[in-house]
Symmetry: none
């Protein structure tokens, strides 16, 4: 392969990245439906035609973007959970990962939450669902373990526990997205941990 071919390939990849970043910014700001392909093209400083050289449709552009973010989160989460042994530790590192991911991709996170049910093509729902399930299953193992060891109470369903953990992190995330000045998300890490493990009642 000629060196020029390599450079061309690298450039192509870089342009693709630039488009995805522009898309993330605009979609996050305006939502999928209110965003026009031209909006994204303008932000990316390319023409619409060029966008269509990289993505076959607006839908695919959006999908590619979300999938990429899911994969990134997936990779990170898998990695961190891999090295963990204790249940409580698992909850902590998972939460940390999520919060960090949210910080890096604030914008798109909201879409991820908000337009999830309605507007996604089936394929993507499956992909998001798969990651979610993967995390849930891993957590369920940990929760079972924790129950067995007497660390966690046994009158709760492990699946419900995953829902609860997810809910709490989403809830504070959402609050932060809606009102970024009022809340500092990183301060909430400890709050979520305390609430999840011990509840609000005085012991």
């Amino acid at each position: 392969m000629a060196p020029a071919a390599n450079r061309r390939e690298r450039e192509r990849k870089r342009h693709r990245e630039e488009i995805l970043e522009a898309a993330e910014a605009v979609f996050a700001e305006k939502g999928f439906h209110r965003t026009t392909v031209e909006d994204v093209a303008a932000r990316a400083e390319f023409s619409v035609g060029t966008l269509y050289n990289f993505f076959s449709s607006k839908e695919e552009l959006f999908t590619s973007l979300i999938e990429k973010r899911i994969e990134q989160l997936s990779t990170t989460v898998t990695e961190v959970l891999e090295e963990v042994k204790a249940p409580e530790e698992a909850v902590r590192v998972l939460l940390r990962s999520r919060i960090n991911h949210a910080f890096r991709h604030q914008g798109i996170i909201s879409l991820d939450l908000l337009e999830y049910l309605h507007d996604h093509p089936l394929k993507m729902r499956q992909k998001m669902g798969a990651l979610r399930e993967q995390i849930q299953n891993r957590l369920i193992e940990f929760f079972r373990e924790g129950m067995a060891s007497g660390e966690f109470r046994s009158d709760l369903d492990p699946f419900d526990m995953t829902i609860a953990l997810e809910s709490l992190s989403h809830g504070f995330l959402f609050e932060w997205l809606t009102n970024p000045k009022k809340v500092d998300l990183r301060d909430k890490y400890e709050v979520i941990i305390r609430l999840f493990f011990d509840g609000v009642r005085k012991r």
Copy 2:
């Protein structure tokens, strides 16, 4: 007033209701953007023109619908909280109201959660925000009381506690909406209560 005028008025009100119900069903199914006015008209068994005799735009139709549901929830919640004295009791009745409301208006609830951030006219966000804040403030009072009486732990911020409670109920709601067959929401009432008050750790 002639009797005919009365009947006409009653009919008009009924037709308005029918349109709102049709709108609720279709918006819930397809989301705001994917729903056409003709979709709603067809479901309501009216012509598009008739819809515009009741609502000045698609936007207003949607807004009216959401506002109506918010007001219903607001009324209920206000009523039940009125009679409550103890903090723990407050949490319980609030949760009950929410779950019941969700059952009655399953469809639109999802929009309420999902499209909240994007696409809504400011006025509506304010209306939704007002109800939320009202509930939060009432809860904060209860939580302060509970802390004073030693019932609740004092190292949590009352506002954060409201976020946590809201998150948990939204999370399970969401799960139920996404997967109504798998989960029975009414069973989750006790789960949420337990989690919120006592957390997952064994005592």
Copy 3:
């Protein structure tokens, strides 16, 4: 015929008049296209349905209105021209009639001028054209007479003279309609007469 039948008929006629007057006001204010049938109905304090009991369409309502005004003008003009003998006198009384008519029906006059070419159904154009032609022909006779008697110059075409007279009266009318405060139309009577008969050049 029962007396009641008479009253009914009188009422019907009165209602028709009321609708026409409302129509004149609204059409004059907003123009034909921007006026809705409901606008007229509201101004007349009737329902739309009632309007359709009197006029078979919006078009016909408009047409009836214009025709009525044309007939009024026609009657007046015919009357005044009937009694006139001298050419110069004819011009004077014609002008007077026009200006008076314009005063009474200021609003609709503008439509009469402005939407003449484009929006009228053929029948109406013919009707308006007929009146115009009738006046023109009468004037042409007078002008011919005036030329024969040496009162008017002979190097002008009598038809052109009618156009000129009409133009001058329309022009000042238009100015008055556009800017009613600045110009008092009745003051312009003498100006038009002087211009038409003697032009601007000093003798």
Copy 4:
């Protein structure tokens, strides 16, 4: 700049012209309200979408068209009046310009006259008004001069004289537009001049 960019730019300009010309033809034929955007698109042999790439609304298309014609007339009139010294000469060249302009843009001229009062956005009325006032003021100067030199009679208001001149040219224009076969506008130049300067009375 690449040569291609230049050609593209030229083409774009040409297409814009073509659309304006099509619009002139259709608006002139049917009037603003009866003309649909699709009518114009069809006449221009473009799709509706393309029209909207050039003009943001039907209204703006119309406005742009009228403004363009006004500017053309304005330029011409300003130029010809610049070089004139004598009052009578001023009237002659002004009239010539108007008649020539009318010949070139027959169609739209009628709108210019007929739909002037109603339906126009304020901005346009001001633009048209500005040109008119500019011409009027220039003429008023000439008329004052002519009065001072004893060329014109002094018992007429200069402003009224401008109205009269305008009326006469509009009147014959109008007649020609309504009935182009019967009248040759260019023949009327002399008629208008004679009427305006000397009136119909024999001296």
